[in-house]
């Protein structure tokens, strides 16, 4: 059975989110990525593979090494979906916070 993978499944995992954060800083080889984790090289490779299948990461050959880059288009897809909702609540909670701060000083 072939698992259908989408970007949301890809980012549901904390290790994969950590990989995205690392690669966001600069392109990295699989070895360099794995060096940041305690998990086995195999486990990290699997995570990288899933991220690549979902097009969150892109491979580029540089000499003999393969480097992984972040795909900003795909990242934007995720952000576009959740961000407006988050922003809506963030605005509301900011308002709550400022109202209650004033309320406290009035007392």
């Amino acid at each position: 059975m072939e698992l259908r993978r989408d970007v949301f499944q890809a980012i549901a995992d904390p290790t994969r989110r950590a990989i995205i954060t690392l690669v966001a800083l600069h392109a990295m080889t699989p070895t360099a990525i794995a060096g940041n984790f305690d998990s086995s090289r195999q486990t990290i490779s699997k995570h990288i593979q899933i991220l690549t299948e979902c097009e969150l990461l892109e491979q580029r050959q540089n000499g003999r090494e393969i480097y992984y880059h972040l795909n900003p288009k795909k990242i934007k897809e995720i952000a576009d979906f959740i961000e407006p909702f988050r922003k809506f609540w963030d605005d509301r909670f900011n308002k709550l916070e400022s109202i209650m701060k004033k309320y406290r000083t009035k007392k």
Partner: protein, 155 residues
């Protein structure tokens, strides 16, 4: 600005988790949820009914300048523990969005800071995904500006 509000909406799940840390003592945060006048100030809707107790019910109403009701929502309170938690249902009137179940947990961090954990459960994954889009109206412009900045940094 620091992003204090976090939203988790995993794929193929019928729930959303919203967390937020406040620069407010726990009691003040909780008060913002139970005082009808304060609710109106930050939610923009008037609490025409709010029974802060187990098996109580609540009703929100928003009117435009002409006095026409433009938004209504209602629900019942399933559990009410002051400064700790509220479990309630939430449903908007006259919309295709169904009822949702909300677990609100209030937590003291320090004397002056507190945290809200809001766990919202929908009837189906489709309902949840549809609900996620609501934030669009208000947040979309600012969100895009924000995102633009992030993407520029990535380049």
């Amino acid at each position: 600005m620091e992003r204090k509000t976090k939203v988790t909406a995993e794929a193929n799940k019928q729930e959303i988790i919203i967390t937020r840390e406040f620069d407010l003592p726990l009691e003040l945060l909780f008060k913002a949820y139970i005082d009808p006048e304060i609710i109106e100030q930050w939610m923009g809707s008037k609490a025409v009914k709010l029974e802060n107790k187990k098996h109580g019910s609540w009703r929100l109403e928003k009117k435009d300048a002409q006095g026409t009701v433009v938004f209504q929502a209602n629900g019942t309170i399933h559990e009410f523990v002051p400064n700790q938690k509220i479990i309630r249902t939430f449903e908007m009137d006259n919309t295709p969005f169904g009822v949702q179940l909300e677990f609100l947990e209030f937590e003291k961090l320090t004397e002056d800071t507190s945290k809200l954990n809001m766990h919202v459960v929908y009837r189906s994954v489709a309902d949840r995904d549809q609900y996620l889009q609501i934030g669009m109206d208000k947040g979309v412009n600012m969100a895009h500006n924000q995102l633009q900045k992030v993407l520029e940094k990535l380049k």
